[in-house]
């Protein structure tokens, strides 16, 4: 459909003003909200994510694309809820305690929303207790943790250990990322997944969602 392609292109150009009228037009043409979400907004965000990954575009472009995506989501969300289409699940994310860097975490949040997850963003400087409590309160399937400082990484292990101690590790999975974090570290602390970049983080959460069922 031409209009879905146009919506996707608006995300790539970061044209947030053009998205709502196009989404309304698509609805008027009889397209269902789920199709507009998947083949318009999510398709556009996937392209943006991929072009960011290969450094064809940069952070400002992703942030503008996200704004355009949210502008479309605002219209679709109530319709999706009314038509009983549920999200792919909830994910709690945050930068770990002591860490105020949030660019990477924010990007993952944007991409997860784009992939159809509900994201509960706890912000920066989040302690282990808060991560686990929020995941329980929201019935989240996963906790995504980001660190940019090597000194703050031990909080990730605290979360993993706490989930184990509370016998929650079957229901709530963990995924970690950030510049100093590695697959090796994830394995070492017993995290369920590691995301090298945004795309890997989203792929990782999708896999965890399947595992949790």
């Amino acid at each position: 459909m031409k209009i879905l392609k146009q919506i996707a292109q608006c995300l790539e150009t970061g044209d947030d003003a053009a998205v709502p009228p196009l989404v309304s037009q698509a609805l008027a043409e009889g397209l269902v909200p789920k199709t507009i979400l998947d083949e318009g907004l999510i398709a556009g965000m996937n392209t943006v994510g991929e072009r960011f990954r290969i450094h064809e575009i940069f952070l400002p472009d992703v942030l503008m694309a996200a704004r355009a995506m949210y502008a479309g989501m605002d219209i679709l969300k109530p319709l999706l809820i009314r038509s009983g289409i549920s999200s792919r699940g909830r994910v709690v994310i945050g930068s770990v305690q002591g860490d105020l860097h949030d660019i990477g975490k924010n990007l993952v949040g944007i991409m997860l929303k784009g992939a159809g997850f509900e994201v509960i963003d706890l912000g920066n400087d989040v302690g282990a207790e808060k991560f686990v409590a929020a995941a329980k309160d929201h019935g989240a399937l996963a906790i995504g943790m980001s660190a940019l400082l090597t000194t703050t990484m031990p909080v990730m292990k605290e979360v993993v250990d706490r989930l184990k101690a509370e016998k929650l590790s079957d229901r709530i999975k963990t995924i970690i990322g950030g510049a100093p974090v590695s697959k090796g570290y994830a394995d070492e602390i017993g995290a369920d997944a590691y995301g090298y970049d945004c795309a890997q983080a989203v792929a990782g959460v999708k896999k965890l969602a399947e595992a949790v069922g």
Binding site: L59, G98, L100, I103, D125, E188
Partner: protein
């Protein structure tokens, strides 16, 4: 001491110091606290660190003011203390070094994104940097170093804020680049060519790069800068890219390795060489010997 810029103008290579944050943590800075909170509570620690780098042979000693702009301090509820935090940092270094080295004020990003992709107005960012610069200049710094910038708009506002307060103070401005298949870019998409042009136009005396890369990548970055500017270059590499070994942070580049790269950095055009994350006074000491060797080779006097 000769004025800094006239020495650089004569082609002399100068050595700057290394990382501060890791030394602060080793001295009890709590996890999650603003590194600049130490300026209020324990300025004597800053004096000790400045002395360590001076004794190791650094000729430029930086202040602990990387995050001391009010916009950044607001994240910790410390913005009302901007003047005291900056002044204390300058005084502590001055007590340690007197006039045996140049005192350079560090200034990093404000932590907010500029409009349109962020939520913060350029005027607010400029005003924030300007109030930090006023405090630093009033306290008597020898030079200012704007560093670790990714957004050229923000870097330019910082440089302009310095110039609005002190028209002639020596001013260095560096950005953090990432190597990609298409060349070097900051995460905001700034090329080295564009950084050279706009930082010079805004009033920087030296341009260059810090953080994000180890020494070898920095040689390539310096070479790229040299392609686009005649300004002297400042290069401050990390001690490599950190790895975690048995739960402890490890920076792979040893003092000897970084000292071994000094010659290549100078050949690539660096006029001031220092260290960023992961470097220690031991790195400075080793690099001191390498810089002195280079100076002798060029007929300059060592330190």
């Amino acid at each position: 001491m000769d004025p800094f810029l006239s020495r650089i103008g004569r082609g002399q290579v100068l050595l700057a110091d290394g990382a501060i944050g890791s030394l602060l943590m080793a001295r009890g800075l709590p996890r999650g606290a603003a590194p600049e909170s130490i300026n209020l509570s324990h300025p004597e620690v800053l004096e000790e660190i400045a002395r360590l780098y001076l004794d190791a042979g650094a000729e430029i000693i930086q202040t602990n003011t990387f995050g001391a702009s009010p916009l950044k301090l607001a994240a910790y509820g410390l913005d009302a203390e901007t003047a005291a935090i900056n002044e204390n940092a300058v005084r502590a270094v001055r007590r340690a070094i007197g006039d045996r080295a140049y005192l350079s004020a560090s200034c990093g990003p404000c932590g907010r994104m500029l409009k349109p992709y962020g939520d913060t107005d350029g005027e607010a960012v400029f005003a924030s940097f300007r109030s930090q610069m006023k405090a630093l200049v009033n306290a008597g710094v020898d030079m200012i170093c704007i560093e670790t910038m990714s957004d050229l708009g923000e870097a330019r506002l910082a440089v302009e804020a310095v110039r609005s307060v002190a028209a002639a103070i020596p001013l260095m401005a560096t950005m953090t680049f990432e190597a990609t298949a298409r060349g070097f870019f900051t995460i905001m998409g700034v090329t080295i060519e564009k950084a050279c042009r706009e930082l010079a136009a805004a009033g920087a005396d030296l341009v260059g790069s810090n953080c994000g890369n180890g020494s070898r990548q920095m040689v390539a970055i310096a070479g790229e800068f040299r392609n686009f500017t005649a300004l002297p270059l400042l290069i401050q590499a990390n001690a490599g890219v950190p790895e975690l070994r048995a739960g402890l942070v490890h920076y792979p580049e040893t003092p000897e390795f970084m000292a071994g790269m000094v010659g290549e950095l100078i050949a690539a055009g660096a006029a001031v060489i220092g260290g960023c994350c992961g470097t220690t006074p031991d790195h400075t000491r080793a690099m001191r010997r390498a810089v002195d060797d280079e100076r002798r080779r060029r007929g300059d006097s060592p330190i």
